[in-house]
Structure formats: C-alpha cells, structure tokens
Amino acid sequence: KVGSVAVEDQPDVSAVLSAYNQQGDPTMYEEYYSGLKHFIECSLDCHRAELSQLFYPLFVHMYLELVYNQHENEAKSFFEKFHGDQECYYQDDLRVLSSLTKKEHMKGNETMLDFRTSKFVLRISRDSYQLLKRHLQEKQNNQIWNIVQEHLYIDIFDGMPRSKQQIDAMVGSLAGEAKREANKSKVFFGLLKEPEIEVPLDDEDEEGENEEGKPKKKKPKKDSIGSKSKKQDPNAPPQNRIPLPELKDSDKLDKIMNMKETTKRVRLGPDCLPSICFYTFLNAYQGLTAVDVTDDVTDDSSLIAGGFADSTVRVWSVTPKKLRSVKQAADLSLIDKESDDVLERIMDEKTASELKILYGHSGPVYGASFSPDRNYLLSSSEDGTVRLWSLQTFTCLVGYKGHNYPVWDTQFSPYGYYFVSGGHDRVARLWATDHYQPLRIFAGHLADVNCTRFHPNSNYVATGSADRTVRLWDVLNGNCVRIFTGHKGPIHSLTFSPNGRFLATGATDGRVLLWDIGHGLMVGELKGHTDTVCSLRFSRDGEILASGSMDNTVRLWDAVKAFEDLETDDFTTATGHINLPENSQELLLGTYMTKSTPVVHLHFTRRNLVLAAGAYSP
C-alpha cells in the first residue's frame, strides 16, 4: 500500500510526486507489462479493443514510477521495449516522455505532473471490466492492479463493448476520455431573445425576427425563432442569467442595419456556394500571428486587424473609407455639439490613413478581437497581457495583467463588455472591460489553452487546449459543463453554430469534429485537410461550415447535411456510443487552394460573403 504522505498547506510538488513510492520490484515491471499484454491479446475479440485502452496509461505510469524512483536503466529498457506498441496518436507524448529520464526532469514538466495527478479516464463495458479484474486480482498481478486503482478511473457502462473504431474516435486526449457524468449537466444552448426594436418605416421595410412593426401594417410572420407571443425556448438561458450590457442607441441602429442586411443575404447551400475574398498579407515573413475582421455598418466588413511577431498590431481599412482618429481635446471643445453630423466632425481629417499601427505590447501578438460595437480592439500577447485599444483614438486604453505567461487567444463576447482569454498557464479567464482583474477563472485543462470562444448567448465559453480536449465552461459559476475528447492533436480552432446547438473544432490532426452540445456527443467528423485546421466559421444561417488550414486551402462543408439525422436515442446518450458515418466526401462542397498562404482567419459577412486572411509564406 502507498505510504501516507503529510500534505502541506501549499501545493508541494514533492508531496504530489511521492505518490509514486516504490510499488514493486523494478526489474519485474517488464514482466508485469508483458503479462498483461499477453492476457489482453489472448482475450476475446470483442473485449480486446476495450482492454487495449489500458496499455497507454499503464505504460506511462509505470515508466514514470521507474524514473521517479531513480531506476534509470530499468526505465530505459522498459521504454525501449514497449513504446513501439502504443497507438500512433500518442507518439508525440511518448517523445516528450523519452526525454524524461531522471527524477529532476519530472519536477519541471507541468504537463507530466498534471497527467500523474489527474486520473486517466477509461470507459469500459462491464463484461470487459469483470474479465480484467478477475485476471489482475490473481496474486502475481497485484502490482498492476494497484496501479490501476491508483491512477486510472474506469467508467463502467452496461452494454455492448465498443469496437476499435468507436474507441479510436473518442480517445486521444491527455487525460483519457470524459466521464459520463462530466457531460450530464444541463446546458442552455439556446439563443437569447432579440430585443424588440422599432423599425423605422421606410420603403425597404421587411420584417426581421422579433420586431414591433409599425402599427396597422400586417407583416408576414416568418416561422423562425420567435415572435413576442412564443414561449421561452426551454433551451435558452433566462435573459438575466448573466448581467449583460444594455443596448445603446448606436447598438440599436446596428441591429436595424443587421436586419436589413439579413434580407439581402444570399441563401447558401450545396448548389449556391459563397464567394471567397482572400486578403493576403505580403512581406510578413512569418510574422503574422493573429487576425480579426469586423463587420461594418454598411455592406461588407471593413476593418482588418493583424497581430504580428514584432509586437505591433496593425489595423487596416479595406473599404475606401479611411481610418481617422478623434480630434484632440482642444479642438473638440470648438465644434458645435448640436449639429447633425457631429459624429463626422469629431474626426480629425488630417489623421486619415488606411493603416494604423498600434504599439504597446512587448512580445508577439497572438490574439486579436474586435468588439461588436467596433469601438475597441483587444489584443493578447506573449508578454502575458491583454490590451484594450480604442479604435477612435488608436491608442491603448488598458492593459489587463493576470496571465503571467503567453496568452494565446482572446475574444470579445457577442454582446460586448465581457471578454475571455486563454494562455500558457492552462487557464482561461473571463474579464469585463471595467474590471482590472478577471471575473472568472476556468481551470481544469492539463496543458495550454490555445483557443477560446464565446457561445452566441454569451453564457458559455468553449476552450480548446493542447491536451487535446475541448471544454465548455459556464460563465455564471465557472463550472466545466462539457468535456469533448477525440482530437489527436492540440486544438487550434473552435466555432459555434449560429443556432447555438453545435460546436465545430479543428486541431493539428487535420480533422474537423462536430459536437452536439446539448447531448454532449460527437456527431460528425470531417476529414480532408492534411495539416492543422487553424480557422473555422459557420455561415450566418448555419448552412455551410468553412475551414481554413495550414495546408493552404479553404474547404467548405455542408453543415445542414452533417447535422441531420442525428441518433440521439437513450442508448447513445447513456453510453456515448457513436457510429460516425464515413461521409466526409459527400459533405465536402469545395476545396479552394491558395498560393502558399495558410488560411489564418475566416469570416462570413452579413451577406454571406466569405472573407479569408493569411500571410503569404512561400
């Protein structure tokens, strides 16, 4: 049995590590492992796939135990003998493991420490588990049984054992799969109700979704998300679940414009693909590290921000309208505040230019995000800060310090005011622009948080991490409500569908995975890219999913078809068994190649034109 350890108040690394006290004779480890291997290979076909899941965590834990107890030679030979048996998608981890040969190495490696302290989750059917237990509890295999109890969490389910294919789809993350109960809590994935706005009666007056039309004009009701009389969507969060900023007049005008644009929107589908307008950054010499594109008031989007490795953020205007900054205080006091075009007059014509450069960061800028009202720009950098820039004066307003390590991504909430950032310290933080400290800390990932996105209703945040899981967090109380495993590489892109029900994720393994948030299941897999998928976006009505990758292509997928016919019967939700159809080819609507330009960002304008951006890197 493991000796008891006095745990001190401060999290002490050595206390954690000493759980690896000597469990057995080091020279026998190879025998134990071989014995287990032999047993599993001789077991029935139906159980073999499930039991094979044990190999990897056992291998790692036994190896780390040998290293910790300073049996270097045994550790090396153990590694040599068995590392080739592991699944191919664990190769990266094994490479890192091979460099840990001494006890001292372990202390510095946070990811390995986390791996050890968190239990690796395996999902095995009851039959297979009984088989395993019986075998391991025999005298000579007690050793492995101890390790299993200590470091693995076996989530047992009743039912048919899973096939290799089903298992392969779900495994791959650093902590095994997700426990069933991790994905059971209720998630309000519906959208918030649109506020009612009086649409001014002009000639192009068509009804958007939730408005009070001018009286006495009968408008055709659209059969969509809701008029005033419809009852609350049971899946939508209550309006005041989290405090949201109220609409200002300028926001209302935006919404009206939005609705007008919506009517002019092109309906996309397999026979009507969007046009793609690509913005190429030239002469960036691999220095382009972040891009964001914003919607403008009229027509198509008008500002592009690029974050660069030279610590600058550059903002371009891509319409003929140039960027102007507000006049100095002295001049502002001279203008007539009552005039109609006061918003034009406060702008200083002499500062008009197409490009504005924002200086302030002291490290490469890895994340950029425009605010929905286009007044602010956020940028996150390797220097550990997130900076808020004003797009009216083009100067920096606030620096939010909290992560002390590179911040890989940041995003404004769809309603403004809140923003989320995720970085190397393995947490994501929720901030509000008027608080200098974070409001929520989302801790739980085992490795860097690469990507953070808000749900369209602003009540949830999704984070994708280098530990190959995607987690969904509740903004209200910081709890992790969903864990999605299945990717075989660090996740670099995330996007929610416009109806809030689905999540698409892309990782370095080149696959795009589709998840149903309500049920917590994987519902689709899109294979096709050959390199990291670094940008994803759904079209405005959710019919098309666009994915951009480091393999210099943009691919369009049929989202409507991918999400229809979901099997969501009780068996599936209870056990998480999925049978993914191999339909990537049918869902692929088009592949568009660029000339040596990885596609870093994708954006659908209100009229469903695709804007893509990347830096030319021959």
Partner: protein, 213 residues
C-alpha cells in the same frame, strides 16, 4: 528565410551535429539553419551559468571539487529564477474556486466607455513636468519621462486637460540645452496652454520626438 531545411553539412562542428540530432530526436524536422546556432548559444550560456553557480556552492561548502550535488543545487536555484513554469493544477483549481464563487457584478447603466478606474488604465500621461523655476545648478533640466505610445493619449470623450502642476513659464538656459531640447520644452509648455499652438504641429513634434528617444 524559408522554413524547413537540411541538416548541417558534414564538416560542421561536432556540437552542431549533436544539436541537430537532439532536434531530430525531439521530433523537430523543419527548422531554419540558424536555429542550431541559437540553440548552441543558449546551451553554452546555460551550462556556464550553472557551472559557475555550482563552483560557488561547492566552495561555500568547502569542498575540493565540484560534484553532482552542487550542480543539482545550482540547477534547482536557477530553475526557480529563470524557467518558471505555470502554477500547479491544484493551486489553479483552488484560486479558480475562490474567484468563481463571487457572483458576476451588475453592470451600471449609461456609463460611457466602461473602463477600470483610472489608476489601472493607460490613459493618463505618464510623465510629469518639472518646474524649472528653482535655485541651484540644475536649472534648466527637464525630466520628461516619455514612453512609447503614451504621449498624446486621450480617451475618446473630451476630458479636462490633466491638471498637472502647470508650468507657466519655462526658463531655458540655451547654453546648457541643445537645440533639440528647446523644441521639446516648447512643445511641452504649449501642451498646457492648448489654445496657443497648432495641434497638428504638436502631434508632429511628438512623433519626431519618439524617433530620437
């Protein structure tokens, strides 16, 4: 500056070949050639720092030779200083639990730009104009502590010009200050008397200033 490339030529120094092998073992197959040089420089600097420290520790312990324990101690001490790693997971879970217990603050209506208190923003000038009217040999010395990006930042809403200690009349002793500084002081003094100089000219001076600083 293309990515990717071949291993160093056969007649490269042995260290370079070893470094290339290490990179290969860690799975890095594409790298610019200068990466090897940078890694070697880093390795050299790190090792010499550690060994220097180890020598100090060993002489402190009055040992005749440097041994493995000294090196181990040196590595540990340096690791805490330079290669800090992010906090351990249970610590993060703890502070997260604490932070997540407080309810989300309500949002005040009609608040204009929602920014933290001024103390935490970067919107205030970060330099102070020192009065020159002072006895002593330091007459004529100005202390403009300018930093990049903060010189002429003003929030979008028109604010009162910051009420710093207004320098009414800046005395300049031309013999001490060079011509450039006269420009600065002119600019600076005019910032406190906004109606006097052309805003465009002032902005231009600012940019000019930043170049030389």
């Amino acid at each position: 500056m293309e990515s990717g490339k071949m291993a160093p030529p056969k007649n490269a120094p042995r260290d370079a070949l070893v470094m290339a092998q290490i990179l290969k073992d860690m799975g890095i197959t594409e790298y610019e050639p200068r990466v090897i040089n940078q890694m070697l420089e880093f390795a050299f600097r790190y090792v010499t720092t550690i060994l220097d420290d180890a020598k100090i520790y060993s002489s402190h312990a009055k040992k005749p030779n440097v041994d493995a324990d000294d090196v181990r101690l040196a590595i540990q001490c340096r690791a805490d200083q330079s290669f800090t790693s992010p906090p351990p997971r249970d610590f993060l879970l703890d502070i997260a639990r604490q932070k997540n217990q407080t309810p989300l603050p309500l949002i005040k209506p009609y608040a204009g730009p929602r920014l933290p208190p001024d103390r935490y923003c970067l919107t205030a000038p970060n330099y102070r104009l020192k009065s020159l009217i002072k006895k002593g040999p330091n007459q004529g010395r100005l202390v403009p502590r300018l930093s990049v990006g903060a010189v002429s930042s003003r929030p979008s809403t028109p604010t009162v010009v910051p009420a710093t200690t207004a320098v009414q009349n800046v005395l300049i002793n031309p013999s001490i200050i060079g011509p450039k500084n006269i420009l600065i002081t002119n600019m600076v003094s005019s910032q406190n008397m906004p109606n006097e100089s052309n805003p465009l000219k002032r902005k231009h001076e600012d940019d000019d200033d930043n170049d030389t600083m």
